[in-house]
Symmetry: D2
Subunit: 408 residues, 4 copies
C-alpha cells in the first residue's frame, strides 16, 4: 500500500491537523482561501479579548479536522460513507465560510446590500468548481442541503454541526473564556446516524446540554459583550458614512477594492463574477487601513468614528431588558449637536439604540435528536429529564443604548 | 518586614499551593490529617475512571489554596477580614472533611450507625483544639456557622463554597470528564460580600449557571455512574455482612481498628474520644485489605461480594425513571437461590433495588444571591433572564436494580 | 464492514482510550491485571507530590493507547504491520509491567531475592498464554526481543519506547511538575522504520533532545527527590526488618500473602507457579496495612520505621556530590544508640548512606537513531549540531546520608 | 484601607491579568500603546503556524502580569522593593517593545536605516514622559540600566527576563509548538536577589536548563523555520524595492505614513519627534495593504514578490551547515533572467543566500547566576553537574539558499 501523503499543520487546540493531499490541499492553497488568513474570526472582539486574533482560515482548517474525526467515528459505528462523500463533506465544511467579508456582520449592511455571506460562499464554490473541473459538485450539493443523505449536510450546518463545535471551542480558547470550552471529542463520540439523519446517543444528553449552555454563555459574555457590540456598530456606521460621502463625490483614501464597494450598490441581483473577484481582494486590512487614513479626514463623522475604533476610545454603552425612552436618545443627540456644532443627522451616528437577542436552542429549524435506548428518535428537549433544556429554547431579547462619553 | 516563611506543594491543578507556616502547617503534619492521604476522594469511582485516585488529603489542601485566593479577592474589594478570621477560615476549610472515613457513604451505614462525617469532623477539630491550646476555637465557630460574619461559614459550606468549587474541578480533572471543569478563578472573582453575607456580582450569573450545570453533569455521569453506584452498594453490603458474621462470633481476618467497628455498634450516643482515636486508624487500606483476605472466606456472601469488588467483576445494574416491579426482583432472587443453594435472605445481598436523586440547586437551604446593579440582593433564580436556572431547582429521581450477571 | 466493537476509557491525559474487544479486553479483565489498580506507579512519591496516586493499571492502559497511535502512524508511512503483529505488540506493551510488585524497587531486595520484575512479567505472560490458549505467543516473542522485526520490541522497550513516553508524560502530569511534560503526539509523529529498526526523522532531533532533558529533569527533581528517596529506603528497611523478625519466629500481623514472602526466601531458582499465584495477591494494600499494624509492634526498629512512613514523619536526608565520611555516619549512629538504648546494628536501620545516579541517554545499549536526509542511519548524538546531546550521555552520581531528626 | 481599583483582562495563558489603575492604565489607553494591537508578535510566522496571530500588545500586557508576580515573589522573600520601584519596573517592561515597527526585523533594514527598535522604544518613553509629567523618569532609568539596583533592569532585559519568559510561553502556546512551553510560575519561584543582582536558587538549575533548551528549540523549529525565514526575507526585499522605485519617482499606492518612510532616508541622526509621530501611525496594516495593492503594480519585482507573500506562494528554501556555492546561485539567477526577461539585478531579489545563527546561552553578556547552598554566586554553567549547559553556549550557524520554484 502506498502511504497516504499528507501535510501537517500545528494547531494549539487539536495538536496536529492533517491535510489530505489532492483537491483539498489545492483548495487551501488557492488565493480565495488564503484570503481568510486576513479575516479575523471574531471581528473586533480583540478590543475586549486581546487573545482573540484568530482567523477564519484557522477556523476553517479546524472544522476540516473535526469533520475528519466525525466521519471516522461514524464509519467505526458502521455508517457507510463512500470516499467521494467523505471528500465532498470535507470540502463543504472547509469552504462553508469562504464568503465572509471583513467584519462580516457590519459589512452585510454596508459594503454589500443584503447579500448574505452564505450566498457568497456558494458563489465562491461555484467559481472554484469551474476552475477545479467539477470536483466540487457533490460538496456543493451537500452544502446546499440537496444531497439525499441529510446527515452530511447536518454535520456542515445544523444545531450540532462541526462549524459550531469548532468555533465555540476556538473562540473560548482564544478569548481565554474557559467556561465556553466544550469537549469536541466527546460530542463527536456521541454522534450516530439513523435513517440518514444525525442523532445523538442517549448518554449524550448532558454533553449536549453542556454544549448549549456553553453556547449561550459565549453569546452573552463574549459575542454580545457590550464593547464588541459597540465596536461592531461603529464600524457599520463608519462604512455607511464612507459610502454616503463617496456617493456625494467626496474623495476618500482607500484600497481600490474597498473604493469599488463604497461607490457601487451591490445586491443579490447584480453580483457578477467580476464583483466576486473584486470581493476576493477585500479583507480586514482594507477596512482598518482605510480607517487609519480617515482619522485625518475633513468629515467630522468619518474622522471621529474612525478614531474611536483605531485608538480604542469607545463610547458608553448600556444594556438592559427594558427599552430606552426616545427622550433619553434625543437628549444625548441634542447635547452632541450643541457640543460639536453638527447636525442632528450627524449626531445620530454617535447616539443610537438597538436590540440584541439570542436563543440557545431552536428546535423549530431542525433540532437535536436523541436516539433512545429502544431506537426511537426524540427531540432532546423531550428526552431530557429536566426543564433545563426546554428553557434554553426561549429567545432572550435585550436593549442597548450608545452615546459618547461626556468630555472629562 | 520579615518575609512570610512558607512551604510549597505542587498541585497539577493550581500549580503551586503555599502553606503558611504555624498552626496550619502543624495541623497538616498531624497524623489525623496525614490519614487523609489514605482515603480516596471518590471512593471506588476509580473502577470506572482509572485516573480518579486522588485523596481527601489533596482535596483539603486544594480547598485551603482557593480559600486563600477567595479571602485575598474579598480583601482587595474592600471587605475587612482580620488575620485571625483569615487563619480560622483557612483552618475550617482545611479540616471540614477530616471526619470522613473510608468509602464514607458506605461506611456511614455500616461501620458506624448514623454518625455523620460532619459530626466526626467536629470531634476531630475539638480534639485538635485541645492539643493546640485553643488555636482552633474561632475555626470551630466558623465551621459550625455560629460566628456572626456569615460569609466566612458560607465560604466553607454553602451553595457556592470552596469545598464544592475544589471538588468539582478536581474530580473533573482526575476523571478526565472535561465537561465538569469549572473556572475557579472566575467564580472567586465574582464573589462579593454584602451585610456580611456572600453574594455574587451581576456579571457572575452565567458563571454560576455554568457551575450548576457542571455540577449536575458530574452527578449524573460521574458520581451516580451506574458502575460507581453498584460498587458503593456492594461495599456497604460487604461491611454489613462482615458485621453480621462478627456479631455471630465468626472469626474474620481484618485490621484491629476495623475489627473494633465490626464488633461494636457505634452511635452518636456512645462516640467517646477513645473511639475517635480508633476511628483515626481507619482508612481505605483496612477495608480493601480485609476484602482481599475475605475473597477466601468460607461465607458465601462475604466471599463472593469481596471478589466482585477486588477483581472488578461487577453485577448488572439498570437505571430508569420508573420503579422496578417487585416481581422482577423476586425472580432474580429465586434464580440465585436455585443456582447457588443459598437462602433468600442471602440472595438479597446480590439482588436489590433503590433510588438515586439529585437536585442541582436547592434555594430553600441558603441559595446563591446576586447583588444587582442597584445593590439589591436577589436569589439567582430570580435574577436570571431565563427559565434555565429555575429548572435546575427541580429534584430528579431515578430507580435502579442490581443483580448478578447470568453465568456465561 | 462490521463495526469494530470497542470499550472506551476516560483518561485525563489522552481523552479517550479505546480498548479493542477480544483478547486485549479479556486480559484487562483478568485479576492479574486488575491487581495493577492497587499498585502505585510512583511508589511513595505521593508523600512529596500529593497528586501522584496514579497506578500501574493506568500507566499500562496509557501505553496501550499510544502504542495504537504509534502503529497507526507507522502504517500511514507505509510500514507493513500485520494484524497479528499489531495485536501482539499491544499485548506486549499492556503486560510489560505486570510483574511489578508493590513499591517495586524496595521489594526486589526484600520480598523477593533478586528476582527482577521483568522476569515476573514474563512468568505472568506465560501463565496467561496457557490460560488464553497460546494467544500471547507472538507477544512474548516481541517482549523478549526474539522476534525478527526489531522495531516492535524497540517500541516496547528501548531508548524511546512507548513505556517511557507514557510514564514521563503521566508522572509529569500527576506530580504537577509541568517541566517534565513531553509531547507524545510529536514524538510518535517523528518515528519511522528503516530495515525493521526504529529510527527518528531528521526534524525530530530537537524533540528527542527535549525528551531526554525532560527525562533527566524528572529523575533529579522527582524520581530521585530526597523525600521519595528516603521513603523508599525506609520501606526497604521495614520489610527487611519484618523478614528478620519473621525468620526469628516473632509473630507479625500481616496479610497471608505478605506473610508467605516474609517467611520464605524466594529466588529465581525456586519461583514456582504457586508462588506466582501468591505473588499475584500482593499489592500496596498489604504493605501499607501491615505497616499500620506494625506502628504498635513491640520491636523498636519495626515500629519506629513504620510510624515514620505512615505519619510522614521522615528523617533528615542530605544529597551532595562528595561521599560522606564514615565518621559522620558513626557519630549519628552512636547518638541513636545513646538516645534509645538500641544496638548499633539496630541503629543502622535509621542511619545510612548510599549513592544515586542517572544517565539521561545511554547509547551503548541501543541508542536513538536518526534517519538523515539522504537515508543514512546515525546515532542522534552524532546527528545533532550541538554538544548538548553528547553531554547527556555522561552518568551523574551523587551521595546521600540519612539520619533521624534531632529531638526538638 | 481603600480597595485597589483595577481593570481585568482575560488572557488564555495566565487567566486574569490585573491592570492597576493610574499611570499604567493610562499608558495602555494611549494611542502609542494601542498601536501594538496592530503589530503581530511573530511577523509572518502565521504563514507556518496559523494560530500565531498574537500581537505585541498582548505580549506587553503578559509581561506586565508576570513582572507583577516576580516582584511579589521577591518581596515575599524579603527583598525590599518600594512602590515607586514597583511601578517604574512595571512601566519599563510594559513599554520595552513599544518601539517595534511592523515586521520589525525586516523593517530595521528598509523602513528605517539602522535605527534599532530599542532606541525607538526609548524615544517613545521620553515622549510619554513629557506627556505624563515625568512619571516615567525612574522607568526610563531602569530600562536603560542606569538605575543602581541592577536586578530591576535584569528583570526587564537579561538572560532570564520577563520579556523572554513571556514570549517563549506565548509563542509556544499560539504556535501549538508545545515543546517550547516553559513553566513561568516555577521560573519566577526560583528567582532571588543577592547584592541587588538577580540570582537563581540552587534547585532552579534544571528549570533554567529546561528554559534554555526550550528557547533553543523555539529558535530552530519556529523562529528560524525555513518558511518564516523566507517570508521575512521577501518582505525585506519588497520594502527595499518599493523604496528604490519611490526614490526613482515611480508612484506607489501606500498609506501616507508608509509613503513617508519610503521616500525619506531615516537614520539615528535625523529621527525627530515629528518622525516619531509618523512612525506611530505605522503598523502591519500599512505593509500588508500596500502589498495587496502592489500585486497589480507594473514593476515585475514589486508585483511578484508581493504576490508571493499575499497568496502564500513561497519560493523554495534549503538550509544546511555548509555554505552554498556561488555557482549554484548564479545558475538559479540565470534561469530567472532567461525565464522572465529581467535583469540580473532584478533576479537577485528572488535568488539569494544567507546565514542564520543562534546561541542558546550567552554568558559573556551577563549570564544566569546561581546562588549556591553556601550563598556564593556562580554562573549556571559552572554550577551545573553536566556538560549539557556548557554545550548550549556554543553558537550554531547555518546557511540557506532561496530561489523560485521551477514552473510546474
Amino acid at each position: 500500500m502506498q502511504p497516504h501523503k499528507t501535510t501537517i499543520i500545528n494547531d494549539p487546540i487539536y495538536g496536529f491537523i492533517t491535510i489530505p493531499n489532492g483537491v483539498i490541499f489545492n483548495l487551501i492553497q488557492h488565493p480565495y482561501f488564503q484570503r481568510l488568513r486576513r479575516i479575523s474570526q471574531m471581528g473586533l472582539s480583540y478590543l475586549v479579548y486581546p487573545g482573540a486574533h484568530h482567523t477564519r482560515f484557522h477556523h476553517a482548517v479546524g472544522c476540516l479536522h473535526i469533520m475528519q474525526k466525525a466521519l471516522e467515528t461514524l464509519r467505526n459505528k458502521g455508517v457507510a460513507i463512500s470516499n467521494e462523500e467523505e471528500e465532498a463533506t470535507l470540502i463543504a465544511i472547509l469552504l462553508h465560510d469562504i464568503g465572509h467579508g471583513p467584519f462580516s456582520h457590519a459589512m452585510e449592511h454596508s459594503i454589500v446590500d443584503g447579500v448574505h455571506h452564505e450566498l457568497i460562499s456558494l458563489y465562491f464554490m461555484e467559481a472554484l468548481n469551474a476552475e477545479f473541473n467539477g470536483s466540487l459538485t457533490l460538496a456543493i450539493k451537500i452544502f446546499k442541503g440537496s444531497y439525499e443523505r441529510a446527515f452530511l449536510n447536518q454535520l456542515v450546518s445544523g444545531q450540532l454541526d462541526m462549524d459550531r463545535t469548532d468555533y465555540l471551542k476556538r473562540d473560548s480558547f482564544y478569548t481565554g473564556m474557559a467556561e465556553g470550552n466544550i469537549n469536541t471529542e466527546r460530542i463527536i463520540a456521541m454522534l450516530c446516524v439513523k435513517d440518514d439523519n444525525l442523532v445523538v446517543s442517549p448518554k449524550g444528553i448532558y454533553t449536549v446540554e453542556k454544549f448549549l449552555v456553553a453556547r449561550r454563555l459565549m453569546y452573552w459574555t463574549v459575542y454580545l459583550h457590550k464593547t464588541s457590540l459597540v465596536a461592531e456598530q461603529l464600524i457599520t456606521r463608519v462604512l455607511k458614512r464612507a459610502k454616503e460621502l463617496s456617493h456625494k463625490g467626496i474623495s476618500l483614501p482607500a484600497s481600490s477594492a474597498l473604493l469599488y464597494f463604497l461607490k457601487n450598490k451591490i445586491t443579490k441581483g447584480n453580483f457578477t463574477p467580476e464583483i466576486l473577484e473584486t470581493f476576493s481582494k477585500l479583507d480586514d486590512y482594507d477596512i482598518i487601513s482605510a480607517m487609519k487614513e480617515w482619522c485625518e479626514h475633513d468629515d467630522f463623522v468619518l474622522r471621529e468614528l474612525s478614531k474611536c475604533i483605531i485608538n480604542r476610545d469607545l463610547p458608553k454603552v448600556k444594556i438592559r431588558k427594558k427599552a430606552f425612552a426616545k427622550a433619553k436618545l434625543d437628549k444625548q443627540k441634542a447635547a452632541l449637536v450643541e457640543r460639536f456644532g453638527i447636525s442632528e443627522y450627524e449626531a445620530s451616528y454617535f447616539v443610537f439604540t438597538g436590540t440584541i437577542s439570542n436563543q440557545a436552542y431552536n428546535y423549530t429549524h431542525g433540532g437535536i435528536n436523541i436516539l433512545t435506548d429502544n431506537y426511537k428518535v426524540v427531540d432532546i428537549v423531550k428526552a431530557s429529564d429536566q426543564l433545563s433544556l426546554k428553557s434554553l429554547t426561549k429567545a432572550v431579547v435585550k436593549n442597548y443604548i450608545c452615546y459618547p462619553k461626556p468630555k472629562g
